[in-house]
């Protein structure tokens, strides 16, 4: 993990100290969450200019709370801590998050943070896909005013986020959807210790007549530079009475909204085909949670 230009390792205890360090190093300061993807970034040549690491574990950003409106998760909450949120065991609408948290190895869950995995803007991660389907909102703070953004606004490209120097994600909020809602997440992986080939998360609300009231379909795992929503598939389902044929049809439609990559994990053609298969499976898994 050699960072050849590293000059300073800051462990700020207040937002002001974060700003000070960030002001000094600008774009060459890297905010450190759990640190579990540092090697991944370094191996891709993305850290060669880093001069300062800002370890934000002392800012008190860990913690989570559930209310009638939904769930608030501090950015430095680890996956392992988040897994213990009682609502995950019982709330069908949080199923996608519960599913996504089962995949990472123990050592990653123990350090990887909710904020870090989002800010990394890595299209191969799992939790961001689940968050996108759950319509996550982020609180971002920095030298300027606190701001609220939707998750999709954060992603600015492959390993690129839209945060300004010194800005960091402080909280992730998941609003409980209205009606009978459930969600699910599925990852296709080479081994149980691998980045996703493709992953898919869905959240769906269905009324008593079996008509889809609301739906979110998100895909990740190299189907684009960022995790993406499939508007085409969502449109096919919204307001329609659900059937196996319709679900199959909607799953096929995700192909219109993704541009899969070709790499050593999979060809673009395989990713495209699998995006459809696991979208269908994720829809069915979510629907099974409504019964």
């Amino acid at each position: 993990m050699a960072l050849v230009k590293l000059k300073e390792f800051c462990i700020p205890e207040s937002p002001g100290q974060v700003s000070a360090c960030a002001a000094k190093y600008g774009d060459n300061a890297l905010i450190l969450g759990g640190g579990s993807f540092i090697h991944g970034l370094e191996a891709r040549g993305l850290l060669s200019e880093v001069e300062a690491l800002i370890d934000i574990r002392k800012l008190g950003l860990a913690g989570m709370a559930a209310t009638g409106e939904g769930v608030r998760i501090g950015a430095m909450t680890t996956f392992a801590e988040l897994e213990k949120l009682p609502e995950l065991a019982s709330a069908a609408w949080l199923g996608a998050l519960k599913d996504a948290l089962t995949y990472p190895p123990m050592q990653i869950k123990n350090v990887a943070t909710v904020g870090g995995c989002i800010a990394a803007s890595c299209p191969f991660f799992d939790i961001p896909t689940a968050f996108l389907a759950l319509d996550a909102k982020l609180t971002v703070s920095g030298a300027g005013a606190k701001r609220e953004i939707g998750l999709a606004e954060l992603f600015a490209g492959l390993f690129e986020n839209s945060l300004e120097p010194g800005e960091l994600i402080t909280e992730v909020r998941l609003a409980k959807p209205a009606g009978r809602a459930a969600s699910a997440f599925i990852k296709l992986e080479g081994t149980a210790n691998d980045l996703a080939i493709v992953n898919a998360a869905v959240r769906i609300s269905v009324d008593a007549a079996g008509v889809c009231q609301e739906v979110r379909i998100a895909l990740g795992g190299g189907v684009g530079d960022s995790v993406v929503r499939s508007a085409s598939a969502e449109k096919l389902l919204l307001g329609q009475k659900l059937s196996a044929d319709l679900i199959q049809h909607a799953a096929e439609a995700v192909g219109q909204d993704i541009s899969p990559m070709e790499d050593h994990r999979a060809t673009a053609a395989y990713r495209l085909a699998m995006a459809k298969v696991i979208t269908r499976r994720a829809l069915n898994q979510a629907l099974s949670r409504l019964n």
């Binding site: 081994t191 050593h264 085909a273």
Partner: protein, 778 residues
């Protein structure tokens, strides 16, 4: 008859080194250090094929903490071959590597080296070495490399063809004319890495007389000494290789020289300090790997299910250097492709080709996994097409116990129980209930498949120029225990425990009374590398001979002390008794004490001079060649589940049946099977080294990108059936086990996939994409 009254051999004894390994494992070579030690690092070429025009090291040399920098001009330009199981200067190997060369032939080849006070400084210094390269055209595909006009990788090697070995028996064309059916297919295997967990590491310490002492993770102590001396132009007596008590895995890889051993010695000589190198995982990945091979197989069959002719050709990418290529292809051909099944007419033609790929190395099975994938897949195709039972078909065409050994008719297949392997394995798996191919319904389909390897090796005996002999020293202690010393390296599979069991059994001691005492090349007899499934059989034989020698000496002393005849004495559990009069007993400890005692002993009548003729340490030594190549036989059955929507395959169950002559340690034997299956599933389904098609750079250089099975991908049921056929030339009847465990899984899995979904994949790994494509879904 299998001896049944054994006390130690055959028992599930606990590994002696395990206690140390669970608390930290201080004996791993990676933990070795010396005071004042410097750290070495290599600068590696970014180009796959280039000439070095100029190297400027001046900036690196000025960096504080840098103690020495080496470039090709500082290094003896003595061509060598890194493989250890043949003498460095033997006729049979091509010597075309240099420690540092001004011609680069693969991406990542070292071009310079640095020794500095810390690893970080050494790494920083590498950035300050300026190298001017003249880039040359590179070729990575062996078929392209053979074409006219392809880049010349080694001067004078026409079309980059290193070797074209072949053999022929009978008239294969006539055989095909006699055939009722002819089957033909091409089977491809990929470049996979051994992925030993402990990185390659070494510390060299050169004294002021120029004597080099090296501590290393290498799996052949004497090979290391010999190759060091050879490449440095020194007599072997100027090099001492020190044995580590254990090494963190090899699987074949570490029976080769890497670059670090010689570089550490040279840097140590230059700086007069010990110099340590440790590979990064990337460096380990590009150090050596299994040879990719393309096998074309043509087989003539009669209606009765016997072979009329077997023809094969093999294209082997030996990489940028010869290394193992010319040798691995022969083992592949004889013990992989041809000798396991009888045919009146056989012909094989091999082609070993240079490319600009990373070096080929040894990997468990040494050419046989590539062969077995072809042969066992094709037999499955034949049986499927012609309606033969795959087990009966194999039994009809394989050698039988008592037959002359197909490799060397001067040997006999004294013990050979392939039939039991096949029949017992089939019964355990429920083979007779196997569903018809492709008959499973639903998106997830299950299937059962099997593969055999009728004839493998116990020691790789019989090839020209191969080191074969082993030696051992046994010393008895005054407390009734024994030290065993052997130059065999325990690379992880528990050889030391197995050898201690053999020694204890022969000596008549309890297992806990024998301890492995590590040594070095100055004080140990020669032993061949830990390779070729040879340690239990070949080193085991040497240990048994040394133990028998020590026991003879022990009983001679005992006979004098006990006033008995040697022939009447026996040893069991540390006690020496006179046969037929158990009251006359003396412990081994007391006999050794007497032998090592001063010239006076205190008896009931007071001090008296001893009357013993034999004085001093009771020892036994040996240096022997293995008597034969006692072939084990193996069959494996697997059940898989194929997700026909995603193409993903899960291995649900494996039954592995192996004739190993005699089980010395059941837990260690099972461990070989279980670990072999992990490597086999990786080879069959997911592992593949990938390289940038332009630059040749390794893209799978860590475990994020090189995927091997985790505990989740392994079946929860792995069942071992060990058949004890009692090989008369083996120690207590033992033959070998290790490599076969990785030879059979891939074809067994491929055949099970065929049974599940009715499509045949003839190239490894069988990825989800290949399955979907074969099913017409991609």
């Amino acid at each position: 008859m299998l001896m049944t009254n054994l006390n130690v051999v055959g028992k599930r004894v606990l590994r002696q080194d395990a206690y140390e390994k669970v608390v930290g494992g201080k004996g791993f070579p990676v933990n070795f250090s010396l005071p004042g030690m410097l750290h070495g690092k290599m600068l590696r070429s970014p180009y796959p094929h280039a000439r070095i025009l100029r190297i400027d090291t001046s900036r690196a040399e000025q960096l504080p903490g840098v103690k020495a920098v080496m470039t090709p001009k500082d290094v003896p330009q003595i061509p060598f071959n890194p493989i250890f199981f043949m003498p460095a200067g033997s006729m049979g190997i091509h010597r075309d590597m240099l420690i540092l060369s001004d011609t680069v032939r693969f991406a990542g080849q070292p071009v310079a080296a640095v020794a500095a006070t810390t690893v970080a400084i050494a790494e920083q210094a590498l950035q300050l070495i300026d190298v001017e390269y003249e880039e040359l055209l590179a070729v990575f595909d062996p078929e392209e490399a053979m074409k006219e006009g392809a880049p010349e990788i080694h001067v004078g090697v026409k079309n980059n063809i290193r070797d074209t070995p072949s053999f022929s028996a009978g008239d294969v064309e006539a055989g095909f004319k006699d055939a009722d059916y002819i089957f033909e297919g091409t089977y491809e295997t990929q470049r996979v890495h051994t992925c030993y967990m402990e990185p390659r590491v070494c510390v060299s310490d050169t004294d002021s007389n120029g004597h080099i002492t090296i501590y290393s993770s290498i799996g052949h102590l004497f090979g290391l000494r010999e190759r060091m001396a050879y490449v440095l132009g020194l007599p072997v007596s100027k090099v001492t290789a020190v044995q580590a008590p254990y090494v963190g895995g090899s699987f074949g890889s570490k029976i080769d020289f890497a670059y670090i051993e010689a570089l550490s010695a040279l840097l140590s000589a230059k700086t007069r300090k010990p110099v340590r190198f440790e590979h990064t995982r990337y460096e380990d990945f590009i150090c050596n790997a299994r040879h990719p091979m393309k096998v074309h197989l043509k087989t003539g069959i009669k209606k009765d299910g016997t072979f009329t002719a077997r023809y094969a050709s093999t294209l082997c990418d030996t990489s940028a250097y010869s290394t193992h290529g010319p040798e691995v292809i022969l083992v592949h051909a004889y013990f992989g492709l041809m000798l396991g099944y009888r045919s009146p007419h056989m012909k094989w033609e091999g082609t070993v080709v240079f490319t600009n790929n990373m070096p080929g190395g040894a990997f468990r099975g040494y050419g046989a996994p590539q062969a077995a994938f072809a042969v066992e897949s094709q037999i499955d195709e034949i049986c499927d097409k012609l309606g033969f039972d795959p087990i009966e078909f194999r039994l009809k065409n394989t050698p039988r116990q008592g037959d002359p050994h197909p490799f060397n008719p001067e040997w006999k297949l004294n013990s050979y129980a392939l039939d039991e392997c096949l029949n017992k394995g089939a019964e355990r798996m429920g083979w007779s209930q196997r569903a018809k191919t492709g008959s499973a319904s639903g998106a997830k389909k299950r299937g059962i498949g099997m593969a055999a390897h009728p004839l493998w090796v116990s020691g790789c005996v019989g090839f020209p120029d191969i080191y074969e002999h082993s030696g051992a020293i046994i010393r008895l202690n005054v407390d009734g225990t024994a030290y065993l010393s052997s130059a065999t390296m325990d690379i992880g599979s528990g050889q030391n425990t197995t050898l201690c069991q053999i020694a204890a059994e022969e000596l008549g001691l309890a297992f806990d009374s024998v301890r492995m005492a590590p040594g070095n090349t100055d004080n140990l007899p020669f032993d061949a590398p830990t390779h070729a499934s040879r340690v239990t059989y070949s080193s085991g034989n040497a240990v048994k001979v040394a133990a028998a020698d020590a026991k003879k000496n022990l009983l001679e002393v005992a006979a004098t002390v006990m006033e008995a005849n040697v022939a009447d004495l026996e040893v069991r559990d540390g006690m020496i008794t006179v046969k037929g009069s158990p009251a006359q007993a003396m412990s081994v400890a007391d006999v050794v004490k007497r032998a090592e005692s001063p010239f006076m002993v205190i008896g009931a009548q007071g001090p008296a001079p001893t009357t013993l003729k034999e004085k001093g340490t009771i020892m036994g030594i040996s240096s022997v060649a293995p008597p034969a190549n006692a072939s084990p036989a193996v069959a494996e059955f697997v059940e898989v589940e194929v997700d026909t929507e995603t193409g993903q395959v899960k291995v649900l169950r494996a039954v592995y049946a192996h004739d190993l002559g005699r089980v010395v340690n059941p837990a260690a034997a099972e461990g070989q099977v279980e670990g072999g299956l992990q490597q086999g599933i990786g080879f069959a389904l997911m592992e593949k080294m990938l390289f940038d098609p332009e630059t040749g750079a390794c893209l799978t250089s860590d475990f994020l990108d090189y995927k091997m099975p985790t505990a989740v991908e392994m079946p929860s049921k792995i069942e071992c059936i060990f058949i004890e056929s009692n090989e008369p030339t083996g120690p207590f009847g033992a033959k070998s086990l290790a490599e076969a465990c990785l030879i059979v899984p891939a074809p067994a899995i491929a055949n099970a996939i065929y049974n599940a979904i009715g499509v045949r994949i003839r190239s490894l790994p069988i990825t989800p994409e290949k399955i979907l494509a074969a099913l017409g879904k991609l």
